[in-house]
Symmetry: C2
Subunit: 124 residues, 2 copies
DNA sequence: TATATATTTAGACGTTTAGCTAAATAAGAA
DNA sequence: TTCTTATTTAGCTAAACGTCTAAATATATA
């Protein structure tokens, strides 16, 4: 498949757009943070991240148990991603994500993951 | 659905990319010309054109029995389409389309449609 | 009017995709 | 080592998608 077509396909899903937009604001996020943002299963997030990574949109970095993802689109798709970042944030759903992310980023990895497995320990 | 997501979805199909690329070169084309280019059923072409039109990427103009389509992306997607036109033509499949289109555009509507219904009348 | 024809719509069919649950993997902690 | 846990993989289901054929629509021509 054409590389650019694969990128377009990778971007034409709301949850994946949300991931890309989030990473446009946060430099890098771990899978558990994205899981918390999207409110879907970890497995589903993993699948979406895999699709984005395979399309060459994301790169990952492993650190202990956590895997961090960051945007890394190919140079010749720069114009596309610039358009994305500028125009896509306008939607209400993505504005809400922005707020949710602030909270998620503020919690810290360990507490976030504890929360996710239901220990209900941490900041509400 | 977010407008920009709908545009991305509309563009994430090879045949629709071929249509958009063709219209990037030819100003306007009728459905039968696009049918000849893609080599799929008229019904299928009609569906693809409908999806692109619904996403706001194309506009149509009726002239007698023929319907002509042309690119008409919304202003705030300009950057996206500029990227598309610049970067997407590099693929081999789309270069072949370019050649096929020259032939198709050279035939003329009436002869082309006669050809399509198998009368086998016209330039080979 | 009746016939021909370019396009669209409707319905069927096979493939792809997004989501889930459960099991597997990989890596720290006890 | 054994246990815990973050992530991925496998297998499933339901919905979405691309394509086809056949019928319907709209327009021109005889």
């Amino acid at each position: 498949m054409i590389q650019n077509l694969e990128i377009l396909k990778a971007l034409s899903d709301m949850n994946r757009l949300r991931i890309v937009t989030a990473l446009g604001h946060y430099e890098e996020l771990c899978a558990c943070q994205i899981t918390e943002l999207l409110q879907v299963t970890g497995a589903t997030v993993s699948r979406h991240l895999g699709i984005l990574q395979h399309a060459g949109v994301l790169k990952s970095r492993k650190e202990g148990r956590w895997i961090y993802y960051r945007l890394a689109p190919p140079a010749d798709a720069d114009a596309l991603f610039q358009w994305l970042q500028e125009s896509i944030g306008a939607s209400d759903e993505l504005k809400a994500d922005r707020k949710a992310l602030e909270k998620i980023a503020g919690i810290g990895r360990e507490d976030l993951c504890r929360m996710q497995r239901g220990e209900d320990c941490c900041p509400k």
